[in-house]
């Protein structure tokens, strides 16, 4: 039975303060996207000011540099989508192997993989750069996607989900019924760890979507930029003297760039919650 919690006024107040604290920056972003650069500095930051420049900002955003913003948006979708799908598959298969099969040096290998979670991504930048350089993949989509496919934390999570969600007894029963190993993995196993797939996929998607450092280092052409890099370059060039500042346009771009994440969380969050909870109970 779920007991209905009742909050004391002080708890209410605390929660309200934290909510406001979390939402204020977002609110600022929303009011700012209606302004032009002059209003940004001359009017109160947390309220709208007339006249509205939203349409003008939208137009600038999608037409500046021959409409390259749309290209960046598409690039981000490609990078994050491919990374999420790919790393879910790699993690699901590798996690399955660690969960269901016995092989030489299994414990050692798993510990090694876990240890790589601790390696900060900045330390990997130079080796990744060199790898891409030697294989001739610098300044291609692959340079951003390939490094993201290997996701040790995803593998670890998937192993937990396989351990908890797909009992060995079920596997053996399927084998007795004559199911092939392929069928067992694809048709029987995967649907049972759906929560895990969504969880790992969301993590990978958010990570790749927000990734700034990797594309900064391995991509040179502005047609290959993701949103993070493109908006940052606009922000920098806009701040340099002699340039027309377009801060409010960039703010609008930033808001648009988080929309896909919001959508992903709202539509997939249900699975994720369920997945986390089932893992917690059974694990």
């Amino acid at each position: 039975m779920l007991r209905r919690e009742s909050f004391s006024p002080i708890q209410w107040l605390l929660l309200a303060v934290f909510t406001v604290y979390c939402l204020l920056p977002l609110w600022w972003v929303i009011t700012t996207m209606f302004k032009d650069n002059g209003q940004l500095f001359s009017t109160f930051g947390l309220w709208f000011s007339a006249p509205s420049h939203l349409l003008e900002n939208v137009r600038t955003l999608f037409t500046r540099q021959d409409g390259i913003f749309s290209r960046w948006l598409l690039n981000s979708v490609i990078y994050a989508g491919a990374t999420a799908l790919g790393s879910v598959m790699v993690s699901a298969m590798a996690g399955y192997a660690f969960s269901k099969f016995d092989f030489a040096a299994k414990r050692g290998l798993f510990t090694l993989i876990l240890a790589t979670i601790m390696v900060p991504s900045t330390a990997l930048a130079l080796p990744i750069y060199l790898l891409m350089q030697k294989t001739g993949l610098l300044n291609t989509y692959w340079a951003v996607i390939l490094p993201g496919l290997v996701n040790p934390f995803g593998l670890y999570l998937m192993r937990l989900f396989w351990d908890a969600g797909f009992p060995k007894e079920l596997m053996e029963a399927a084998r007795i019924d004559g199911a092939s190993e392929q069928t067992i993995f694809w048709s029987l196993g995967l649907p049972l760890v759906r929560g895990g797939l969504v969880t790992v996929g969301l993590f990978a998607f958010v990570g790749a979507w927000n990734n700034f450092f990797l594309p900064l280092v391995v991509v040179n052409s502005d047609t290959l930029y993701p949103l993070t890099l493109g908006l940052s370059v606009w922000n920098q060039t806009s701040a340099s003297s002699g340039q027309e500042p377009i801060y409010t346009v960039i703010v609008l771009g930033a808001l648009i760039s988080v929309l896909p994440l919001l959508i992903a969380f709202l539509t997939l969050g249900r699975y994720w919650q369920g997945g986390l909870a089932s893992g917690a109970v059974k694990g």
């Binding site: 002059g38 500095f41 001359s42 930048a125 130079l126 750069y129 060199l130 350089q133 610098l138 700034f212 450092f213 900064l216 280092v217 040179n220 940052s232 370059v233 606009w234 922000n235 920098q236 060039t237 701040a239 340099s240 003297s241 002699g242 340039q243 500042p245």
Partner: protein
């Protein structure tokens, strides 16, 4: 009659052309028939247009530009490529203060090998000191500069009966007069508490030196005598309330200057463009520029510098000769300097560049915002008075951050100016040693 006028115009135009061509030094010859492509990383606005003029003169050299907007991200990318030993551009833009940390990677070509030393005489002397600190290797070609001068609201100064101060003593008494007469509402000056380079430029003008190469190691003197003199001077005015401490480039600051409650400041040559752009109509035409006040009355104008950048050639470049040629052309040809000024407000390091018509056009901003005064002339004079012997160190970024902490404590009254500078020196020194530098 009409024809004669046309001829006169033509003749004038031609002579103007020949004058601007005469101002260009003879650049190194490009190898005939050798087709090369140079990759250039720069954040100079409108560089693509400038480059079009270059390729017209040198059709065999193709230029590919990558603009990442400057700042830490650009430097990270460049550092990675230099350390990896491949993928770096032929030419890159680097600010003076960051040159030593890039020179330390060994990834910057010594341009004296490609004849750059012959062009030293065409640059304002101090800029060459920045790119060739020991006078031997040349790590870069100077590009733009930020010599210091004073900007002030002529209307506010007139209102409070203050003449333009020529010495720091006059500036301090003027600041206290304005504060008293306005009952504290108007401040003559403002101390930028979070910009170490602003403070360092003021100490630089007094001959202050913060870093110096010493054999294979370094000497760091953040608490040098000039620094102490300058900081004590400002702290006295801050304590008396004669100057404000509003953050640079903030909305508060532009509101104060626009309304005339902050009536003067000390800005680099790129600063006035920001004044014109940020205040727009407010106080337009009321500003003027003057030489930096001096410590000794009647002395020659001495100044410091804040900002500016240079063009390096990397050791990874397969065409270092052509890359050097491009870097020289970009910063010495009248065409390029004019375009860089018009598109990005780059105040040139070239001596001849300071006299170009575009810089001295008083009908356009920033001079227009300054009441049509030729402020480039003020800044050109300032640039000639910048001390040549001023060096940076690879760990300057740390010093830059640590400064804010010490100055904050000073303004809160927890440290005296001397203590703040001593702490700045000690903490930065400890960190530099921890990073493995031989420094004392």
């Amino acid at each position: 009659m009409k024809k004669a006028a046309l001829y006169v115009t033509l003749a004038l135009g031609l002579s103007a052309l020949s004058v601007s061509y005469a101002a260009d030094p003879a650049f190194p010859k490009a190898e005939a028939g050798k087709k090369v492509t140079l990759e250039v990383w720069s954040w100079v606005p409108g560089l693509d247009k400038t480059v079009a003029s270059f390729t017209k003169a040198y059709p065999d050299i193709n230029i590919k530009i990558l603009n990442l907007g400057g700042g830490p991200a650009t430097y990270t990318k460049l550092q990675t490529a230099l350390k990896a030993g491949s993928g770096a551009p032929d030419v890159a833009q680097i600010e003076y203060g960051f040159l030593p940390s890039f020179a330390d990677t060994g990834g910057l070509a010594d341009l004296s090998k490609y004849g750059a030393g012959d062009y030293k005489k065409y640059f304002v002397p101090w800029t060459w000191g920045q790119v060739s600190p020991e006078g031997k290797a040349v790590y870069a070609i100077p590009q733009d500069t930020g010599p210091f001068a004073m900007v002030y609201r002529s209307d506010v100064l007139t209102k409070y009966g203050v003449t333009v101060p020529k010495t720091w003593a006059q500036y301090a008494s003027a600041a206290s007069a304005v504060n008293q007469k306005s009952a504290g509402k108007v401040k003559l000056g403002n101390f930028y508490a979070t910009f170490a380079p602003w403070f360092m430029a003021l100490a630089w003008a007094d001959g202050g030196q913060f870093f110096k190469r010493d054999g294979d190691g370094w000497v760091q003197t953040l608490n040098n005598a000039s620094a102490k003199k300058v900081l004590n001077y400002w702290n006295d005015m801050i304590k008396k309330g004669d100057v404000s401490t509003i953050g640079a480039f903030s909305a508060d600051y532009w509101n104060a200057t626009g309304a005339g409650t902050v009536a003067s400041n000390f800005e680099a040559a790129w600063g006035p463009g920001g004044y014109a752009g940020s205040m727009k109509d407010k106080s337009a035409g009321l500003w003027r520029a003057a030489a930096l006040p001096q410590w000794t009355a009647g002395s020659a104008i001495k100044s410091g510098n804040w900002g500016g950048s240079s063009n390096v050639v990397t050791t990874q470049s397969k065409n270092p000769k052509e890359a050097t040629l491009f870097a020289l052309w970009l910063n010495l040809s009248g065409t390029a300097i004019t375009e860089n000024w018009n598109n990005g407000g780059l105040f040139p390091a070239s001596s001849a560049g300071l006299g170009l018509p575009a810089l001295n056009d008083t009908s356009k901003n920033p001079s227009k915002f300054f009441g049509g005064q030729n402020i480039s002339a003020v800044y050109a004079q300032a640039s000639k008075g910048v001390n040549v012997n001023f060096q940076w160190a690879p760990w300057f970024p740390f010093a830059n951050d640590n400064y804010n902490k010490q100055i904050d404590l000073m303004i809160k009254g927890k440290l005296t100016p001397d203590q703040a500078l001593d702490a700045w020196q000690a903490e930065t020194l400890a960190n530099a040693k921890k990073e493995g530098y031989t420094v004392r």
